[in-house]
């Protein structure tokens, strides 16, 4: 099953490699991983999307907690939560494709960020599945390049991860 694991860690050199190294050394799967500083400059927040059965996820959380640089770990899948991801996609857009891309971007409430006579760059945000749906809807329109941020997540309600 897919899990979104959030962690707060010391904003120190090497902390990211400790987490990434743990996943590769123990053979855990990483679907996406994002990391950036938080409002507390000494802390970074990392969001990892991974897959595994209950026992593997339990081990992942325990092993993450064991890392000295990791301050807090939460499987936000456990409770109601919000998930968002951002997609930037550069599509070939000539002739009829121009209208088609424009319409699709509207339907998915995306934004067109760059226009040339042969291409559009479209930005889509939403849960990962929505980004997948857009890429599918694009169909035969050639993709010149694309980049995704990987998922971010926060739990719903007034509680949250902080120290």
């Amino acid at each position: 099953m897919r899990h979104i694991i959030s962690l707060l860690m010391e904003n120190e050199a090497g902390a990211l490699s400790r987490v990434a190294g743990l996943f590769s050394a123990r053979g855990y799967n990483i679907e996406s991983l994002t990391v950036a500083p938080t409002n507390d400059a000494t802390l970074s927040r990392m969001t990892i999307v991974t897959r595994g059965d209950e026992q593997i996820i339990e081990q992942i959380i325990k092993q993450l907690n064991k890392l000295i640089d990791v301050v807090q770990v939460q499987d936000i899948q456990d409770a109601p939560h919000i998930e968002r991801e951002l997609l930037l996609i550069k599509l070939q857009a000539t002739g009829e494709q121009r209208d088609e891309v424009f319409r699709l971007a509207e339907i998915f409430r995306g934004q067109i960020l760059d226009v040339t006579d042969a291409s559009y760059v479209v930005q889509i945000t939403g849960p990962g599945a929505r980004l997948d749906a857009f890429i599918e809807a694009v169909g035969n329109i050639p993709v010149i390049e694309m980049a995704r941020t990987g998922a971010l997540g926060l739990s719903r309600g007034s509680c949250g991860m902080s120290i």
Binding site: M9, E10, A13, G14, S17, R18, G21, A25, Q55, E58, Q59, K62, Q63, N65, K66, I68, D69, V70, V71, I163
Partner: protein
Amino acid sequence: MEFLSGGEIFVRCLQEEGVDIVFGYPGGAVLHIYDALFQQEQVKHILVRHEQGATHMADGYARATGKVGVVLVTSGPGATNAVTGIATANMDSIPMVVFTGQVPTHMIGNDAFQEVDNVGITRPCVKHNFLIKDVRDIAATIKKAFYIASTGRPGPVLVDIPKDITDPKIKIPFEYPKDVVLRSYNPVLKGDDGQIKKAVDLILSAKRPMLYTGGGVVLGGASEQLTRFTRMLNYPITNTLMGLGGFPASDRQFVGMLGMHGTYEANMGMHHCDVLIAIGSRFDDRVTGNLAKFCPTAKIVHVDIDPASISKNVKVDVPIVGQVGDVLNSMMQIMEHEGRKPDAAAIDAWWSQIEEWRGLECMKYGWSDETIKPQYVVQKLWEVTGGDAYITTDVGQHQMWAAQYYPFDKPNRWINSGGLGTMGFGLPAALGVKAAFPDAEVACVTGDGSIQMNIQELSTALQYHLPVKVISLNNRYLGMVRQWQEFFYAGRYAMSYMEALPDFVKLAEAYGHVGMLIDKPADVEGALREAFKLKDRLVFMDFRTEPTENVYPMVPAGAGLNEMILV
């Protein structure tokens, strides 16, 4: 306030931590530190012959004393040579602080001479590591390193120190921090009361209980509590390879080691038990055999300081995270307070079953008048040393025979590389123990393969007068490899025969020690007595043993614990 250089601060920190011996090897990046070490006497330094030796010595020192072992090596190859020893300590949770030199901060990343990314290379095999980038951080980092290494589930911590921050010309005010606060590291000490109550209920409900205890008992200094607890219950107890000595082996309740080369009674007891009480053990694959067939009828209590050890390989019913000694104390208090006792009738019946298994005498081995049986050497070693020596081993058949035939009544006496299985561990580890306890008898049980992996430390032994006894069970084979090839590869002995072995007697003499060659069973005991009389000399005893002797019993890989090969 005092003004000190980085090198001086380093030395002062070691003094503040109560370090008495550092095992190390100098080199360019640590010259400032060595210069500061040279100018004081409190912290002694033992110059090894290879950095791997330094790590195993510090490791042996730590296992025997319970204190943190300390290593100091230079950058690049100094550090990479130390990696095997760091990984060895990590797998067995041994408290160790390893200081490595690093190229000056402004050169890091430039492929400078003797530069390697020490923090990167060791990250997967340390409990934690640090790169110090500012002389003002040295004291606080060293304080943290010792704290992390020695608390919670212990382990090695590496501290990488670039040369420029130990520059004798740069002096800063020195103050050693009183304590450490790490918001992200708070090892659990006390077990949860509710869980402990649940565990007591389950333990006392057992009809066929089994205590299965590991290295956590030895590391946690809880063998006294374990012994009382076990006697209070009158349950059978087995130890893992790492847990030997945690409970007195001469006690009737001890059914021997379990696992791949465990006793019949221990493994059968595991397989048939209804309540398994795992204490400071981690369900390692050499212990469990095939997980699908492991303890099929048991409910499991597991006490461990590391939450990640719990339900990692085997799902347990009552997990308790905490220090084993404290948890055992709490359990005993409940039992005493509430006057609750185990089911005596059921336990008696269980004991008769166990005695029946024990009656098989699975550890018996054949006798020969011509060739020396390796098991016999270990038994005689036990007799000659009164069962009270510190025994280190290397890895292979000799290690298993030492574990099987040298019963330990005290903890911290049995010192071997259980998790990583590092050949070359035994001799340097023995020297580390001897450095800590100069008056104790220390013997390294080894083989002709393993001993050659760190034999250069015979030179260190002479320089620092560390007269240990080397008990080499020389069968001219890589015995454990040969055994597996005999059993599982139809006797195709691929590269497991050692040709052109050195003359170990002459080799020992060349290093300034005493060498002995023993090739007759009748000479074994006399030779051992003679060797141990030479209190001030390292004696290298080359026992020519039966070349094709196998370690029994054996649970083949993939089998259940009840599927042992007995002879």
